[in-house]
Symmetry: C2
């Protein structure tokens, strides 16, 4: 009787041994989240209406609320899932790689690959950054901070290892800017794929940070 959207749903069947990872409910919710990502991406969170999502997903307006309790929670679910996934992938890829420069290249490649493969979700993540309030917002903010700190760690390591001189915070945020801005311009029919872009952005950024010779005149 109670709506499942009020509490976190269990994602495994109750009895009958074998745990099936995705219940019907979870699959349906995931589908809705993917439609919602598209809609939020196109019209922005505030600009998109629940009726837009209803139209896009083919489900009635009221029917949607069986799966989540509010539009805000919908955005939260999208952002949390996206961030969690990208952080998890990054950690897996970094495992076993020691070289400082290579680790930064992996960071860039992971970010851009995921960004371009899930452009809509990443745009929603980048663009709708400040709209979540209170509890929702702080949880996503914590994920973001963790991701940010990983990058700071990578750069600080390189900096110490090679006695470089740059402001870590500025370097990290510049790198994020380079990468995240991509959602405003990337056109798959014109621009290269993630690997190429990652390589060239990595070149520019790493040379810029490493190159000993000052590029300034006098």
């Amino acid at each position: 009787m109670a709506s499942p959207s009020t509490t976190t749903r269990v994602s495994r069947r109750k009895h009958r041994g074998v745990p099936i990872p995705a219940t019907r409910y979870d699959q349906r919710l995931a589908k809705i989240l993917s439609y919602a990502t598209e809609v939020f991406c196109d019209k922005g969170y505030e600009g998109a209406s629940m009726r837009d999502l209803s139209r896009a997903s083919g489900m009635s307006l009221a029917g949607l609320y069986y799966y989540f309790e509010s539009k805000e929670r919908l955005l939260y679910l999208i952002q949390k899932h996206t961030f969690t996934t990208i952080v998890a992938r990054l950690k897996a890829r970094l495992e076993g790689v020691d070289n400082g420069e290579e680790r930064i290249r992996i960071f860039i490649l992971n970010h851009l690959e995921y960004f371009l493969a899930n452009q809509a979700a990443m745009k929603v993540l980048s663009h709708e950054d400040e709209v979540l309030k209170n509890g929702f917002g702080s949880e996503v903010a914590a994920l973001k901070r963790e991701y940010y700190r990983i990058c700071v760690g990578l750069l600080d390591h390189l900096k110490r290892q090679r006695s470089l001189q740059f402001t870590t915070r500025l370097a990290v945020l510049s790198l994020f800017g380079m990468m995240n801005w991509i959602y405003t311009w990337h056109n798959p029919r014109v621009d290269a794929d993630a690997a190429s872009i990652a390589r060239e952005m990595g070149d520019v950024f790493l040379r810029g940070v490493i190159c000993g010779a000052k590029a300034r005149k006098s």
Copy 2:
């Protein structure tokens, strides 16, 4: 009798010789635009209501419409003014400077100085990029393209002059990313001023683009 907001208002008194640059109307409109910039910056264009602006500006809801015909035109006016100003300043500053690297440094400094001095306006420009439709949108888009092309010109010149190898489009958009992303993180109590940031971002970017030695391994 006719509302002045439907046509572009003349900004000079009609008779009595001396042209006074700012009429009462223009001053009032400018004031409203500045309040609107603040409100759009805080809550986003879609998230901000005309009632928010009414509250912020101290003018009645209907009173606002004496100065512009729609919320969309309000955003258009803000974006157009901001872009026009930053392009004009840039052109003035580039005048007489020949050195290719110095010209790019001027571009970066001009951008960041204006960005940090008018953070709200620039956030509205960066963040509310795709919301203007049809006529409004295309005019602002043309301004943006001009600004973009200037930067392409600067980088292409440097590239030819020094026989460098990079994708101009990617380099320009990376630079814009580095600079524009600043609206998501800059905190005047923590971060340096525009000149310092421009210098360090310029260092990273120019070294990255100029440095002959590949930073890649193997």
